[in-house]
């Protein structure tokens, strides 16, 4: 399985959960690939120079690499904004299944959310410790704001959308119907979890891991 990671500080805070998922999947024979997108983590490049297309190219490269190095059909798990990257990847690269965790149906919502957090940090209005700010290129922000789930015709037959509450239920149902009509068998699921991407302490969400594993193992021929 290839992971399209969350962006910025959300990736750092999700790392323990992702590692835990990967260990669990390894136990049932799945390999997991977690790339550091260009300009993030240990990858080369500066974050502020990156564009959406660079990260899409990274994901395409990883999908090709997986096709030649991994034995099982390729599934992609997109987490938070990574879900929109994964959905874009799945329009041009045939994959076995697509799973999205807590992906905003509209990229502009994520951008507003992130900017609000940066404002709270910058103004020191809240005092105390805060995560570092991340600088995005204005063109990347424009691209992020333009991302919408459901606008893609997917080259995959199976999709699972997981959210932590019902806040996006109406939007997810719309996406589900669109994808179901044009391309894929699409399920939505609410799994109650804390917002692990926003919490400094590591959070392991076992029900989330279990549901993901069930979906993946159910898909193995």
């Amino acid at each position: 399985m290839l992971i399209a990671p969350p962006l910025a500080e959300e990736m750092n805070r999700s790392r323990t959960l992702i590692a835990s998922l990967a260990r669990d999947l390894a136990g049932v024979g799945f390999e997991t690939l977690l790339p550091d997108l260009t300009g993030t983590g240990d990858s080369s490049g500066l974050l502020e120079n990156q564009r959406w297309q660079h990260w899409l190219d990274d994901m395409s490269f990883m999908a090709s690499w997986a096709a030649t190095h991994c034995s099982l059909p390729l599934s992609v798990l997109g987490i938070r904004m990574g879900g929109l990257l994964a959905a874009n990847l799945a329009t041009e690269t045939p994959i076995d299944s697509l799973i999205l965790w807590h992906t905003p149906a509209d990229g502009s919502t994520w951008l507003e959310h992130t900017k609000r957090q940066q404002l709270a940090t910058k103004g020191r209005a809240l005092g105390g410790k805060s995560p570092p700010g991340y600088r995005f290129h204005p063109a990347l922000e424009t691209d992020i704001a333009a991302q919408k789930l459901g606008s893609q015709k997917l080259a995959t037959e199976k999709v699972l959308l997981i959210d932590r509450d019902t806040a996006q239920s109406a939007a997810y149902e719309e996406v589900r119907q669109v994808w179901q009509d044009i391309s894929s068998v699409c399920q939505t699921l609410v799994v109650s979890t804390p917002p692990y991407w926003a919490l400094e302490k590591p959070v392991i969400c076992n029900p989330l891991i279990t549901e993901t594993k069930l979906f993946l193992t159910g898909n193995v021929p």
Binding site: Q117, T121, G123, A125, L126, P131, P194, A198, L199
Partner: protein, 82 residues
């Protein structure tokens, strides 16, 4: 459910603080007392408030005054509901 009860559940679920949410009283400090409550978590709490109480919170309202104590956050929400 009362504002207090709903708010307690939002904090419990968003900050993953379990039973600690039950001991929140009006004078319990939030910022500086709950280590989970940094700027990223605050934004998630605000999103929870907006969703659960059907209110709109503006960026300049997300400040230390509203998040000083459990009681000040209850007041903030009740003020937005009027």
């Amino acid at each position: 459910m009362s504002t207090q009860g709903t708010l307690r559940d939002i904090l419990r679920e968003t900050l993953d603080i379990g039973d600690r949410a039950d001991s929140l009283a009006d004078d319990t400090p939030l910022l500086g007392n709950l280590p989970e409550l940094d700027s990223m978590a605050v934004v998630e709490v605000v999103a929870g408030l907006e969703q659960q109480f059907g209110i709109t919170v503006y960026d300049d309202e997300v400040d230390a005054e509203a998040f000083a104590t459990f009681g000040s956050l209850v007041k903030f929400v009740e003020g937005k509901q009027q």
